[in-house]
Amino acid sequence: MQKEELSSQNYNFSFWGGVNNTYSFQTENGIVYEVKLKPTPYFFDNPLYAENTYELSIIVADNPTGRSPIFDTKVSRTIAAIFEDFYLSSDEHLLIYICESADKRQNIRKTKFDRWFEHFAPMDYNKYDGGIQDSTGEIYPVSLILKDKNPHKAAIIVAFIDIIAGYNQDK
């Protein structure tokens, strides 16, 4: 039922594949997004879930409007549909989303991302939020998304908290 509802309210998307699991879609305003789910084995130390960890990037590939993209519920639903597609291959996939801060708009991005997440929250996903601060004082909001049925859920959440606290080991 959920899937049916999504399919009638999202944009069509294309899967490019490749190492970075790239998906593309275009909005009614002509904005083209690329959603990448890039393997990020260095994030966690534990091999049980390190190999299933992916960094989520949402990139505006083309924006003919010349303005900052406005909130579009179809975009949310498309990203949700992409997630569904991606998680079909394994319930053990983990996503890490770190908000870009170069233009000081990380909190806006975080709010937008939270709104997107509202659209896939009912589909058995959990999101855990935190923030990491670099030595210049810049704070980067970071989210972990995993399926409720992930067998390593408890250990992953503990590891995520450790990373935020700086207990990640360089690999």
Partner: protein, 65 residues
Amino acid sequence: METVKKELTKEERQANIDRLIARWKASQEESRRETEERVKTPEYQAMLRELRKKNAERGIVIPEL
């Protein structure tokens, strides 16, 4: 498997965080470059045409700008 977490100083933890952020930034940059290269390809334009067609079949009209 039980592991014992090694206590780290504040400076060591900050260094870990800085390293993680640097790695992530490099990865983001690489992703952006990959996208910039892809949009120049004929395959990308073909994909947009195909997406426009599929969306139109479902009543979503995407203008050709």
